[in-house]
């Protein structure tokens, strides 16, 4: 079944807040159309790596999980606004600025677009920042490419489109 871009974004947001995303962090507050500097992200979700829970799981989490603030962003591409290195770098620099301002340790960026061209593939795969995981999702073919950071590779496992 083919999903529209908006449906796909909503599905990823739900998945991160209530589904598999909870294996990564406790993502607990989501904003739509969130603007950081001159970039408007379709979704921004705040979270923390220290899970809440009841008794044992809370205790386990307290002693074993790091207490890191994390953030998750979704950005949609369009035929007019194709994702190339320049656009990706602008988005990432906004994310890094937000991370610095809010003491966020790790971030993920999911870009939902159409067609994975060479420019897109090169832009995503050339990211070397280990504190940001980038994933590109083709909304038509459901194909995904990710950056080579650990966070990017992990995210691919937890997003189902």
């Amino acid at each position: 079944m083919s999903l529209s871009k908006e449906e796909l974004i909503s599905r990823i947001e739900r998945e991160i807040m209530t589904g598999r995303g909870r294996w990564i962090a406790d993502f607990n507050e989501s904003f739509r159309d969130f603007r950081i500097k001159d970039v408007k992200f379709d979704v921004f979700i705040k979270g923390n790596t220290r899970m809440k829970g009841f008794l044992l799981s809370r205790l386990f989490s307290h002693f074993l999980n790091p207490n890191y603030e994390v953030a998750f962003f979704i950005l949609s591409g369009s035929p007019e606004k194709k994702l190339d290195r320049k656009r990706l770098q602008r988005s990432l620099s906004s994310i890094r600025w937000h991370m610095e301002q809010n003491y966020v340790k790790w971030s993920w960026l999911v870009v939902v677009g159409k067609e994975i061209g060479d420019a897109t593939r090169n832009a995503v795969e050339s990211i070397s920042d280990q504190t940001v995981g980038v994933l590109y999702v083709d909304s038509d073919t459901k194909q995904m490419i990710h950056c080579n950071s650990y966070l990017g590779r992990q995210m691919k496992k937890y997003i189902k489109v």
Partner: protein, 141 residues
């Protein structure tokens, strides 16, 4: 068009029921055994039925949630006395928050502060209501 949401929140009702039942059980514990022993079953039935009635009254007075909204304003009422009334234009930003118990609420932000609408307790779809609240806030800008 006005929308009204006022479902019964069973967990809140159960808490009220339990408070009343615990008070009555404590009174029974303090009563001499010779008085209680011949009528134990009757006391239990009496306690449960009065806890149901008084628990319902307490729940309605203290914690029953009623949420109404239209294109211009919203009202959130908790129990009989706690009423919060706002216009959508009072807010500038909206978010969807999840508590550690897995319940959702929609946060309406203004001047760094926020009003929390407990959408899960009101049996509203959190994602759909968040989108609707966002549209209503944006329509008043």
């Amino acid at each position: 068009m006005a929308h009204l949401y006022s479902p019964t929140q069973l967990s809140s009702f159960f808490k009220s029921f339990f408070v009343i039942f615990a008070i009555q059980a404590f009174v029974v514990l303090l009563t001499p055994y010779e008085i209680v022993d011949p009528i134990r079953a009757q006391i239990l039935i009496f306690n449960i039925s009065t806890s149901l009635i008084l628990g319902w009254v307490l729940y309605k007075r203290a914690s029953h949630l009623t949420f109404t909204y239209n294109e211009n304003d919203l009202t959130l009422r908790r129990g009989k006395s706690d009423v919060i009334n706002h216009r959508w234009s009072d807010f500038s930003k909206v978010s969807l928050a999840r508590t550690e118990h897995g319940e959702f609420s929609v946060r309406l932000y203004r001047d760094g502060d926020f009003l929390e609408i407990p959408v899960s307790k009101l049996k509203l779809d959190p994602f759909l209501f968040r989108d609707e609240a966002k549209k209503l806030i944006e329509s008043h800008r």
